[in-house]
């Protein structure tokens, strides 16, 4: 599904990613943990195609295609989805209009017919109720005035509607209370399937109690310094990142 080979990326001349190697097979859930500033969010933005980053070395293959040659919207249509750590507020763009435009743009890019209004409404209402996104929220401008939890639920709802094959979750647990964490985790777990891979970025082991990963990676100073099973997360929770920060 996803193959990252020796990826180096700079921001304003500073090297943030220093040789990432990562392979995710279809159906796998990988978690990346690491201290602040280790490059976790940068990796997620590079995958989604934000243009503030300069790729100096390496490549990313997504379903065998060169991801770095694709524009952000092409990546989305191909099946990459980034759940933002800080979802952006867009005043003046109604949530419903946004959802419909996004869904139909992706369908069009894949050569599928656009959704008609009744079908669209039906599917949005269903996914919204599963993620406890109220009809009132859907009427508001995108993310404007949403609480932290509402924004994250809105991200996962978009993920459920767009049905990506690679879900990148950037600190989806940050700013969530226990109940919201459960709603979001249930939403993510409902999307687990043999055809869909996930990359879950987090600081804390807490999220991984709900979304059980197949592989856990530790990232430090722009590199993956250790990989292991889900028990690695527990070990980190116990001992902290100190060993790895020093190792890097």
């Amino acid at each position: 599904m996803l193959e990252i080979k020796n990826l180096h990326a700079n921001v304003d001349g500073n090297e943030i990613l220093r040789g990432i190697n990562l392979t995710i097979k279809p159906g796998e859930v990988h978690a990346i943990m690491g201290p602040n500033g280790s490059g976790k969010s940068t990796l997620s933005y590079v995958l989604a195609g934000k243009d503030d980053y300069e790729i100096t070395e390496g490549e990313i293959l997504f379903k065998g295609e060169n991801l770095l040659e694709m524009s952000p919207d092409e990546r989305a249509a191909a099946g990459v989805f980034l759940a933002f750590q800080y979802p952006i507020e867009i005043p003046g763009v109604a949530t419903m209009t946004f959802l419909r435009t996004a869904m139909n743009a992706q369908r069009k890019a894949r050569g599928e017919a656009e959704l008609n209004t009744p079908d669209f409404m039906k599917i949005v209402k269903q996914k919204a109720s599963e993620l406890k996104v109220s009809p009132e929220m859907l009427k508001r401008p995108l993310n404007v005035g949403f609480s932290g939890g509402e924004k994250k639920r809105n991200e996962i709802m978009q993920m459920a509607l767009l049905e990506p094959s690679l879900c990148v979750l950037d600190e989806t647990d940050s700013g969530l209370d226990i109940d919201a964490l459960r709603v979001v985790s249930d939403g993510v777990n409902a999307l687990r399937s043999p055809e869909r891979s996930m990359l879950v970025i987090t600081h804390y082991q807490r999220l991984l109690d709900h979304i059980i990963p197949d592989v856990v990676h530790v990232m430090s100073a722009g590199k993956i310094v250790k990989s292991g099973g889900k028990e690695l997360a527990l070990e980190l929770e116990e001992n902290g990142y100190a060993d790895y920060v020093n190792a890097a």
């Binding site: 934000k50 952000p72 249509a77 979802p87 005043p91 003046g92 435009t101």
Partner: protein, 421 residues
């Protein structure tokens, strides 16, 4: 002997003054013509015209249209469903056809319409070149009075320029909304792209005590044209005036809006959207005179600038010493879609009262990259995402309009402009 400085007349000035000289003008028109002759057209060293050098931009003033023409194109669809559809061709008001109206008996009773030159009582007393041009050039228009009715009647005035040789189309309407009455007025200005015609559009508005007028002016002139628009409005006590000015650019658009609060506890909500591309030049110059206490006003303007176009906003709020408890908020925002576009944003407050709330904001920027990236990351292609961002930017001003039909019409114009950009 003192040498008199000899001012060189531009071609535009010569064309203007020559045709005014041969007209048989009444004293009011003559006075305006005399002022124009004395001062010439204003240039960039005249403060109010600093960013819009009329002397340089108004290259010609074609002959005033005299003959009564009917619209070359069949009557276009009104912008919104209206009780009365009035048409002005080349500045000349057309006979009001009873057949064309869909007005209810109630609306017919509440609206009186005559053909005639509107007065200028809504304007400020201080001389203004744009107003003077209209005073000198216009000889006719519609005189509309609204009296009290259960539902506000809707009057639509369509201004068309025929496809003939370039003309100067000048008219001035006056609208009075009588005590306690409510009304909706929509004006549209359009013309051919292939002639450099000049349109001088005057409108004097009186909103009497307890009355309410919702007004939209939509300027969609031909690309080579020069549109010189004026709106002068006086608001009585406990009255409400809600105008929206939508301007699509052309060679030159300058709109001067002058509003005066004549009574207490009244409200003005003036909004506008300007969309310019190519080498368009537009200028919205607003002067709000809070001359009475306890009034509120909101001034909200959005400008979208593409290509090498230039948009100017000059907004002045004057709060007279008597006008205590004034609450005025002005905001003018520009969105630049290109490196070479220009937005000149000049808000001014002049406050002589000490117990007031007044604020103004002026911003200018390009499309927010983070917002754009969010839309792209959901699979929305860049052109569509940019269009959504522009729509969102302008919608903020449009959405506060109270009439859904006007909102719909303005949004359609915006969508059409974006599609053709």
């Amino acid at each position: 002997m003192t040498a008199q400085p000899q001012k060189i007349q531009t071609q535009g000035e010569t064309a203007l003054l020559q045709q005014l000289a041969v007209l048989d003008l009444d004293p009011t028109r003559q006075a305006a013509a005399d002022r124009l002759k004395l001062n010439g057209l204003p240039h960039r060293r005249v403060e109010e015209w600093k960013y819009t050098d009329l002397r340089a931009l108004l290259k010609d003033v074609p002959q005033l249209s005299k003959a009564k023409r009917t619209a070359a194109s069949s009557v276009a669809k009104p912008l919104i469903p209206a009780d009365f559809v009035l048409t002005v061709v080349d500045g000349i008001p057309q006979e009001i056809s009873a057949a064309g109206t869909t007005a209810s008996a109630e609306a017919k009773k509440a609206v009186s319409i005559e053909i005639g030159l509107g007065d200028a009582s809504g304007f400020h007393e201080k001389a203004n070149t744009n107003v003077d041009l209209n005073m000198a050039l216009a000889s006719s228009g519609f005189i509309v009075r609204f009296s009290k009715s259960a539902t506000p009647p809707v009057v639509f005035i369509d201004h068309i320029v025929s496809d003939a040789d370039a003309v100067t189309a000048a008219c001035r309407h006056s609208v009075v909304v009588e005590k306690g009455a409510q009304a909706v007025l929509v004006e549209r200005f359009s013309g051919p792209d292939d002639t450099a015609y000049v349109a001088s559009a005057g409108l004097s508005v009186i909103v009497e005590d307890g009355a309410k007028l919702t007004h939209a002016r939509v300027v969609t002139e031909g690309i080579q044209s020069s549109h010189l628009g004026t709106i002068g409005a006086r608001i009585g006590s406990e009255a409400v005036y809600e105008p929206f000015v939508m301007t699509l650019g052309s060679h030159l658009v300058r709109t001067d809006v002058q509003i005066t609060f004549d009574g207490e506890r009244s409200h003005l909500g003036i909004r506008g959207a300007t969309l310019v591309k190519g080498k368009d030049h537009t200028d919205m110059t607003l002067e709000v005179d809070h001359a009475s206490p306890n009034c509120t006003s909101i001034e909200q303007f959005k400008s979208v600038i593409a290509d090498e176009a230039k948009a100017v906003f000059q907004g002045k709020i004057m709060v007279k010493q008597i006008a205590q408890k004034t609450d005025a908020k002005m905001m003018s925002q520009g969105l630049l879609l290109s490196e070479n576009g220009e937005f000149l944003n000049k808000p001014e407050l002049e406050i002589f009262a000490d117990d007031v709330i007044c604020g103004h904001g002026a911003t200018c920027g390009d499309i927010d990259e983070d917002m754009l990236f969010y839309l792209l990351s959901r699979g929305i292609p860049r052109p569509i995402a940019e269009t959504m961002m522009v729509q969102a930017f302008v919608a903020e001003a449009i959405e506060d309009t109270e009439q859904p039909a006007i909102i719909e019409a303005l949004e359609a114009i915006l969508a059409d402009w974006l599609a053709k950009r």
